[in-house]
Subunit: 280 residues, 2 copies
């Protein structure tokens, strides 16, 4: 049973009503191995303490979510965004997160190509600091339904292109979230491309519900939707990724359930749909 | 003023609370030139009569929406889907619509590649009948947020690929709806590719609201969102398309307004954002 869960990580936002303390205690008791921290916890728990709490419970801090949001209307605002990213890098280092997830941003009304230029510029401005801090930066391509305001990077190909454009530095890679990329006909090739370049830094799982009733907070539990999780994990493995399958589910309906019951459902679904022995 | 509106068409679903009679009278009075009929009107008005009503009011029937939905779990169900498409082709011919719009379909849980195979098979089975009836079939690539249940064809490239796969017949082309394709980094190349192959059959306009509150019925009025309508229309023109800019807006909030007021807003927005003189 422990072997089965060896790749199970959970994003703390999955059980959003819980404090970090409650997350850590319940996750550890459930056999979870990795915890991806969300920055909102730092309002009550400082990063070093948060990381220690996770390790003291016998788990790893699998990542920090999230920074990015580089595009902005003025140079001053873009500078502020970069400063926030530098702070997030320090936080990731302090809590022992190997990876900082970047939701890259998009400025409504600005051409997506210009937003992508600002994203590349913003990431470039953070690379030195990230490298010195020992923190990897992971670009997370978002679903095209977020192109208007959350990410001008909406495909794996665009994420790979940004990495290439910046000279393919070792500390820059990609977080693959099935929710955002499952529909993409280029997914197999682009996961393979990212693998060859050694830039597959994280893998997030959930499912796409039919119908999806909210653009943000109606993600499905694994098995509850139409994403072929086994195929995508197999692509990741073939491309050389053997890390966590991190559960990241935003769901207004699930956040209303008793969270222990919800966590139990997450672990059960993970066993059924994400366990390593399912992968050929 | 008449010249300005020469490319204005409206999908009747844009004013969904209205009967076809009410649509035709109000559109004609507003200076609209083309009417894209929705099949739900045929519950009360037969196709020949619907087409005559539009022409008698001095407008053209710019298209018929919609058929498609080819993927299904059994051969029998796929045959039924094809039969519905053959009926829709007859309806398009009867109402004088030059184009039948295809929302191609997707079967939840079935690999998208298999759904695309079934789509190609379904379209192939309709081509002869469409050609004999003088009706063009237009594949409408839908936004990737509909990949699970409405269309396994989510990019212009996939739509072009299906046309190529079927031997690029003259009566098969693409309906470009800005709502579905505006985010696509390949859009300029793929519109040019479709233009070279003579398969740009229709162009639909609306806008992408931020935030979008519903996946289906929260489309924006032109100018209300982040889509660069002028750029996309310019791509279409450069690719040889000079037809209607058809307004197609599904909006629960707009359907609650007095529909004459809403129609006036549509025409005003069309003048501001879609008039031919705006295109260089």
């Amino acid at each position: 049973m422990n072997g089965e869960l060896s790749e199970l990580a959970i994003h703390t936002i999955t059980t959003k009503p819980w404090s970090l303390r409650a997350c850590v205690d319940a996750y550890a008791a459930a056999g979870v191995r990795g915890v991806t921290l969300w920055r909102y916890h730092f309002a009550e728990t400082n990063p070093a303490e948060a990381g220690r709490m996770i390790r003291d419970a016998g788990m790893q801090c699998s990542g920090l979510a999230r920074a990015g949001f580089f595009p902005a209307a003025t140079a001053g605002a873009r500078r502020l965004a970069i400063e926030d990213n530098l702070r997030a890098i320090d936080e990731a280092a302090a809590c022992g997160a190997p990876v900082l997830v970047l939701v890259c941003g998009s400025l409504p009304g600005q051409p997506l190509s210009e937003s992508r230029r600002q994203i590349a510029e913003g990431i470039a401005a953070c690379l030195g600091h990230a490298s010195a801090a020992g923190v990897n930066l992971a670009i997370e391509p978002l679903h095209p339904m977020y192109a208007g305001d959350r990410s001008a990077i909406v495909t794996m190909r665009q994420a790979n292109d940004v990495c290439d454009l910046l000279g393919s530095p070792a500390g820059l890679g990609i977080a693959v979230d099935v929710y955002h990329v499952w529909w993409d006909p280029d997914l197999p090739e682009e996961i393979a491309r990212a693998g060859s370049a050694g830039r597959l830094f994280a893998y997030h799982v959930c499912d796409w519900r039919i119908p999806t009733e909210d653009l943000l907070n109606d993600r499905g539990l694994m098995g509850e939707g139409c994403i072929d999780l086994r195929s995508i994990r197999t692509m990741m493995e073939h491309a050389g990724f053997h890390g966590f399958s991190e559960v990241e589910i935003f769901s207004d309906r699930r956040w209303k359930e008793p969270q222990q019951q919800w966590l139990d459902s997450v672990v059960t679904a993970w066993r059924q749909h994400c366990s390593p022995h399912l992968i050929p």
